[in-house]
C-alpha cells in the first residue's frame, strides 16, 4: 500500500529536455499503465522512480518521503532486457534475493536455510509456470520464460512498488493472457503499487487502474531540443478494479498468495 507523488519532475540529458513538468499523484495500490510513443521518456521515468537516474528538477516522494539516492529492495523492477543474471540458473536467480538479505558477507546460504530459500523460490517459480525449468540457465529459456523469471525474481523481495518496462512485449498472445491473469492476481494479493510501460493499449486498459500517456506537445524538429514530453492524458480505468475485499486482507494477504496461484486457471508450466 504505497502512495507515490511526482512533483514537477524534469529530466534533461546534456541540455536536451526529455521530460518536463511531470506531476502525478498515485494512490496506494494503483496499477499505473504508462503509454506513449517511442523515445518519449517512459523508460527514463521508470528509471527515476527506481533511483537509477535522478530528476534534473523536481521531486519524487514515496509515502511522503523523498526517494533514496540509489535503488533499494522495496522497489522491484523487470526490464525489457537484461533482467536476469546469465550466470545463475533459474532457481538461483530467484534465491539470490533471499541470500542477499540473509547473508551479508558471503551472499550465499547453506544447509537448512538454503533448502528453505530454495523451496520458497521454487514455489514462486511454479506459480509463474517455471516449475519444470529450475536448473536451466537463462540463455536456455525463451524470451517469455525469461520475463516470467524476472517477475518471480522481483517478487521474492515482496517489493512495495513494482516497475515493469514493457515486460510482456516478447510474449505470444496466449502466454500474455495467462501472465495478465497472473499479474492481476499478484497485484491484488501483494498490494504493490505497479507502474508498467507498455505499447499495447488494450493491455494498458486491461491491467491498469489508470492509464497515463506521455507525449511531446511540441514536436517540430526545431522544438525537440527545448521541449520535452509530459503527461498528456490521464485516464482512470472504468470499472475500477477494486482489488481486495476486507475479509481477504484480514485473512492474511500475501502468505496466501501462492495457494491462490496454485488454483489459477490455465497456469502454464506444470504438466508440460
Amino acid at each position: 500500500m504505497t502512495a507515490v507523488s511526482v512533483k514537477n519532475v524534469w529530466k534533461e540529458y546534456d541540455g536536451r529536455i526529455v521530460l518536463e513538468q511531470v506531476s502525478l499523484e498515485v494512490e496506494p495500490h494503483s496499477f499505473i499503465a504508462l503509454v506513449g510513443p517511442s523515445g518519449c521518456g517512459k523508460s527514463t521515468f521508470l528509471r527515476m522512480l527506481l533511483s537509477a537516474e535522478m530528476p534534473t528538477k523536481g521531486d519524487i516522494l514515496v509515502e511522503g518521503e523523498r526517494l533514496p539516492g540509489e535503488p533499494t529492495a522495496d522497489r522491484g523492477v523487470v526490464f525489457q532486457r537484461y533482467s536476469v543474471f546469465p550466470h545463475l540458473t533459474v532457481l538461483e536467480n530467484v534465491v539470490l534475493g533471499k541470500e542477499f538479505a540473509a547473508s551479508p558477507f558471503l551472499g550465499k546460504l547453506f544447509g537448512k536455510a538454503k533448502k528453505q530459500a530454495r523451496e520458497e523460490a521454487a514455489e514462486i517459480l511454479t506459480a509463474v509456470g517455471l516449475g519444470d525449468f529450475l536448473n536451466l540457465y537463462p540463455s536456455q529459456l525463451s524470451g517469455g520464460m525469461q520475463q516470467r523469471l524476472a517477475i518471480a525474481q522481483a517478487l521474492i523481495k515482496r517489493p512495495k512498488i513494482l516497475l515493469l518496462d514493457e515486460p510482456f512485449g516478447a510474449l505470444d498472445p496466449g502466454i500474455r493472457a495467462e501472465i495478465h491473469v497472473l499479474m492481476l492476481k499478484l497485484w491484488r494479493e501483494t498490494k504493490m503499487t505497479v507502474f508498467m510501460v507498455t505499447h499495447d493499449l488494450s493491455e494498458a486498459f486491461h491491467l491498469g487502474t489508470r492509464v497515463i500517456a506521455f507525449d511531446r506537445p511540441r514536436n517540430r524538429p526545431e522544438e525537440r531540443e527545448r521541449y520535452g514530453a509530459t503527461i498528456t492524458h490521464d485516464l482512470a480505468v472504468w470499472p475500477p478494479k477494486y482489488p481486495v475485499s476486507d475479509t481477504h486482507i484480514a485473512s492474511g494477504g500475501t502468505t496466501r498468495l501462492l495457494d491462490e496461484l496454485e488454483a489459477l486457471p490455465g497456469r502454464p508450466g506444470v504438466g508440460h
Binding site: T72, F85, H87
Partner: protein
C-alpha cells in the same frame, strides 16, 4: 556445420559465407598449411644438405630426431640431468607462478576499479600509464632489485601481463549491462555482495579469455628473462645452443615450447567450458 539440407546443386548458387566444407575436407584444409610448411622445409633442407653435408642451418629430420632424443632421453654428461625435462620444469614453474600472480592481481584490481568509482578515479590513470611501460625496459631494474634468481623472472611476467589483463577486466566490467547492476540493487545487494555474487562470477570466464590472449606475451617475457640471466629453462637452453649453431636441438625445443603454449591455451579453454557452462551458451 552442416551443408544445405539435402541440396547438392544449390552449393554453386550460395554465397561464399554460407558454404561450409564437409568433415573430411575440413580436416584436410586444416592440415594443409602445416603440410606445406613441412614440405617447404624438407625441400630446402634436402637442397642445402646436397650442397654441403655439414650444413647446420636446415638439418634433416633424422638429425632433428636425434637431437630431440639426446635432450629428452639422455642424461647430460656434465650435470647428469635429462635437460629437456629439467628445462621444462624450470620454465613452467616460472611461467605458471607469474601467470597466477598476474591473474589474481588483475582480477582483483580490475574488478575493483571497474566497479567502485572511488577506486577507479584513484587508479585508472595510474594503471593506464603503468601499462605503457615496456616491461623489457625495466628488466635490468628487476635484476638489480631482485637479483638474478627466480623472483626477477616471475616479476617480469607479472609486470608484463597484469596491466593488460587488468585493463581488459575494467573494460569487461564496464560492458556489463547497467540493468544488471540496478537489478542486483533492487534485490537488496550491497557493493560487496554485488562484487561477490554478480560481478566476479561473470568476470571469471572473461578473465580466462584474457589470460589466454596474454599467454603469448607471458612466454615472450619468460624466454627473454631466461635468455639474459639464467642457469636453466627452455629459453636459456635455446640461447645457449645458438652459440653452437645447434639447429638440430633448437628446432625441436621451439616446437616443444609451441606445443606447451598450445596445450596451456587448450587447457584454459576446456576449463572455461567446464566451469562456466552458461558462458558458452549465452546469446
Amino acid at each position: 556445420m552442416d551443408t544445405a539440407a539435402g541440396g547438392r546443386p544449390a552449393v554453386m548458387r550460395r554465397r561464399m559465407i554460407n558454404v561450409y566444407p564437409t568433415r573430411g575436407v575440413a580436416l584436410f584444409l586444416a592440415a594443409l598449411p602445416f603440410l606445406l610448411l613441412l614440405l617447404a622445409y624438407l625441400a630446402g633442407s634436402a637442397a642445402r644438405l646436397a650442397d654441403n653435408p655439414d650444413d647446420k642451418l636446415l638439418p634433416s629430420f633424422a638429425s632433428i630426431g636425434a637431437g630431440f632424443a639426446r635432450m629428452a632421453f639422455e642424461a647430460d654428461p656434465r650435470t647428469g640431468d635429462v635437460l629437456l625435462w629439467v628445462d621444462t620444469a624450470a620454465s613452467l614453474a616460472r611461467l605458471l607462478a607469474g601467470l597466477a600472480i598476474a591473474t589474481v592481481m588483475a582480477g582483483v584490481f580490475g574488478i575493483a576499479i571497474g566497479l567502485v568509482p572511488y577506486v577507479r578515479t584513484t587508479f585508472n590513470g595510474f594503471v593506464a600509464v603503468i601499462a605503457m611501460i615496456p616491461p623489457l625496459a625495466i628488466l635490468p631494474i628487476l635484476f638489480i632489485i631482485f637479483g638474478l634468481g627466480e623472483t626477477s623472472k616471475v616479476a617480469l611476467i607479472v609486470i608484463g601481463v597484469a596491466p593488460v589483463v587488468m585493463r581488459d577486466m575494467i573494460l569487461r566490467v564496464d560492458e556489463m549491462p547497467r540493468e544488471l547492476m540496478v537489478k542486483a540493487q533492487t534485490l537488496g545487494a550491497s557493493t560487496w555482495q554485488i562484487a561477490l555474487r554478480v560481478v566476479v562470477p561473470q568476470m571469471m570466464p572473461r578473465l580466462i579469455d584474457s589470460v589466454r590472449l596474454s599467454l603469448c606475451s607471458a612466454w615472450l617475457f619468460l624466454i627473454a628473462a631466461e635468455a639474459i640471466a639464467s642457469q636453466s629453462g627452455l629459453g636459456y637452453r635455446i640461447f645457449l645452443l645458438r652459440r653452437y649453431l645447434a639447429m638440430d636441438t633448437i628446432l625441436p625445443y621451439v616446437a616443444w615450447i609451441t606445443l606447451l603454449a598450445f596445450a596451456l591455451d587448450f587447457a584454459l579453454r576446456r576449463l572455461q567450458r567446464k566451469a562456466f557452462p552458461w558462458f558458452a551458451g549465452r546469446a
